[in-house]
Structures are given as structure tokens and as C-alpha cells.
């Protein structure tokens, strides 16, 4: 049951990022990079941050080291390149979640924070964090889009369910 829910959340994540990026594509480059004083400043920085954190977590779960030096790292200066990377990451997240052994969800994941401090968190909470973090920053981008005069597409879980793009 919990595994089914994470499979839905992974697909919702991919679907809602598609919609968000469609809305962001309507921004001029200036507006896309304008510092609107969100936690990471701009839409550009916030979208990059999301990809950074997803790669960090996916690396920790899958056992590889993401080449990330800071949480505000800019992985891709160009929006179109970032967009391609986003789709690839979201596909990889679906694959990761689908491939999980349901028992593993309740087991602790051992990993290290960026400063090297060791940590341990149950895998279901890791996934909860990953998906919640996405939604939080998408909310920030949503505000920046409406402030720039763009009406973003609908992007909540009810909309996803009604779109027919189910898990």
C-alpha cells in the first residue's frame, strides 16, 4: 500500500514538473533569471536547486555519488538543457520507486550529508522528504510565475488524478 502511494507520487512528480516547465517556458530569459528573492532567488536557481537535491537523494538511495558541491549549484545555465535533465531525472525517480522492494521502504538508509556527517533515515521518510521538497519549491516557483504575469497550469494531485495520467 505504501509502495503504491510512492509510485503514484513519483508519477505525479513527473507530471507536475512537465506542467511547471511548460509554464516556465513562457517566461522571457530575463524574467526566468530575475532575482525575486525566493529562498534561492530566481525561478532559474530554484529549478536548478530541485534537480541538485533530487540527484543527491537518488545517489544516496542507489549508491552512487552525485557530483554536487553546494545546494545552490547551477547544474544547467540553459533552460532547455535543464528541462531535458529534469525529464530524465523524473523518469529515473519513477524507475527507482517502481524497482524498490516494499520491505526496503521501512529500513534505514545510511548516507552522509554534504559536509560528510553520517546520517540514517528510514527510506519511506527519505521519499517523503524528496517529494515534499519538490512540492515546496514548486510552490515558490508558482508565486514567481504569477508575479511575472504567467498563469501556471493546474498542478495538484487531484488535477493529476483527473487528467487520467494515473500510476
Amino acid at each position: 500500500m505504501l509502495h503504491d502511494m510512492f509510485k503514484t507520487l513519483a508519477r505525479f512528480n513527473a507530471w507536475t514538473n512537465t506542467g511547471l516547465y511548460e509554464s516556465c517556458a513562457r517566461l522571457s530569459d530575463t524574467e526566468y533569471k530575475r532575482d525575486r528573492k525566493a529562498f534561492f532567488g530566481s525561478v532559474h536557481n530554484t529549478l536548478n536547486h530541485l534537480l541538485v537535491v533530487d540527484r543527491l537523494w537518488r545517489g544516496r538511495v542507489e549508491g552512487w555519488k552525485a557530483e554536487i558541491s553546494s545546494l545552490d549549484q547551477i547544474l544547467h545555465k540553459d533552460f532547455d538543457v535543464l528541462r531535458v535533465a529534469r525529464v530524465a531525472e523524473d523518469t529515473a525517480i519513477v524507475r527507482l520507486v517502481d524497482g524498490l522492494d516494499a520491505k526496503r521502504l521501512l529500513q534505514p538508509l545510511k548516507y552522509k550529508f554534504m559536509d560528510g556527517t553520517p546520517a540514517e533515515t528510514k527510506l519511506d521518510l527519505v521519499l517523503m522528504t524528496l517529494f515534499n521538497h519538490q512540492t515546496h519549491h514548486r510552490g515558490q516557483v508558482h508565486v514567481m510565475l504569477t508575479q511575472a504575469g504567467i498563469k501556471p497550469v493546474a498542478m495538484d494531485i487531484i488535477d493529476y488524478e483527473n487528467s487520467g495520467r494515473r500510476a
Partner: protein, 171 residues
């Protein structure tokens, strides 16, 4: 082992939800009244309106789950114009969410909730309770993200709301 996994997941989210809302309201209450009510071009305009929407949204879903009437006419309804009353309403909803999740079992989570939508003249809807709860918590986080962005635009040192921070704080 899996028997209690999913209710526990929602109970944890309910606890995080209360913590995040307390943090957010603490930050929002640092603003003067004009800044708190200023239309900042968010979907619901201001911090005040967005926080009202969140209480409205939760009240609607909790009423549907309890098969009671919520009495709310629109999703942008201002339930409480006074911020202190709004905060009390927020705390009451968060307590109700915790209570609801505490009583959950696997059967309830898997059951289908039948309800009527707010829009389009009240069409019938049906969703698993698990999906309703996932939406409820996700919707909270989404609008908190909006409020957070509006807060950092005024107060750059607004504290983060990361679930990871909550987990570290509460062990």
C-alpha cells in the same frame, strides 16, 4: 511489518504539518498588518488570503472525510479576517488532522471517499482516502511554499520548512 506502515506515514505527515504551520505563522506574524495583507501577485494574492485558503481547503476535505457539511462556498473564501483568529482556526484544523490520522487503519486508507466538488456545480467525485490524504498534505506544502516565497521577499531570514529539519529536530 507492513500492516502499520501506511497509517504511520500519514501520522508523521500530520505531525510535520503542524510543525511547519507553526513555523510559518510565527514568521508571518513578524510582518506588520499591511505587509501581511499586501497583494503580492500570488494565486490567492496575499499571505493572508493564501493562509485562509489553506484552512478552507483542509476544512472541506476533513468534512468530506467525516461525512459532514463544511459550509464553505468558495476556495478563496476568507474564513477569518483577523490573523489571530485565523491562527487559532489553523491550529484547530491541524489538531483535527492529527486526530483523523491517529484513527486511520489500512482498511480506511484503501477505502473510496465519495464527495461533491466545489466547482462545476458540485459534480460527484470518488478517490481513495490515501490519495485524498496525499493531496491534502501536498496541497499544504505547495501553498506554504508560496507563502514562504512571499515571506522571503520581505524577510530574507525566514526559516526553512524542510521535512528533514523537522525530522532532525524531533529525532
Amino acid at each position: 511489518m507492513t500492516a502499520v506502515a501506511t497509517p504511520d506515514y500519514f501520522r508523521q505527515f500530520a505531525a510535520y504539518n503542524g510543525w511547519a504551520n507553526r513555523r510559518l505563522f510565527d514568521a508571518a506574524f513578524r510582518l506588520d498588518d499591511a505587509a501581511y495583507r499586501k497583494n503580492r501577485g500570488a494565486f490567492f494574492g496575499s499571505i493572508h488570503n493564501t493562509l485562509n485558503h489553506l484552512v478552507a481547503g483542509d476544512r472541506i476535505w476533513l468534512a468530506r472525510l467525516a461525512a459532514t457539511e463544511h459550509g464553505i462556498a468558495r476556495l478563496d473564501q476568507i474564513l477569518h479576517d483577523d490573523p489571530a483568529q485565523l491562527r487559532r482556526a489553523r491550529e484547530a484544523e491541524d489538531a483535527r488532522i492529527v486526530e483523523f490520522c491517529a484513527a486511520l487503519d489500512e482498511a480506511r486508507i484503501a477505502s473510496i471517499l465519495h464527495y461533491r466538488t466545489m466547482s462545476a456545480g458540485g459534480r460527484p467525485g470518488a478517490l481513495p482516502v490515501a490519495t485524498v490524504l496525499a493531496h491534502l498534505f501536498n496541497h499544504q506544502t505547495h501553498h506554504r511554499g508560496q507563502v514562504h516565497a512571499m515571506l522571503t521577499q520581505e524577510l530574507p531570514d525566514t526559516p526553512p520548512l524542510d521535512l528533514l529539519i523537522y525530522m532532525m529536530e524531533t529525532g
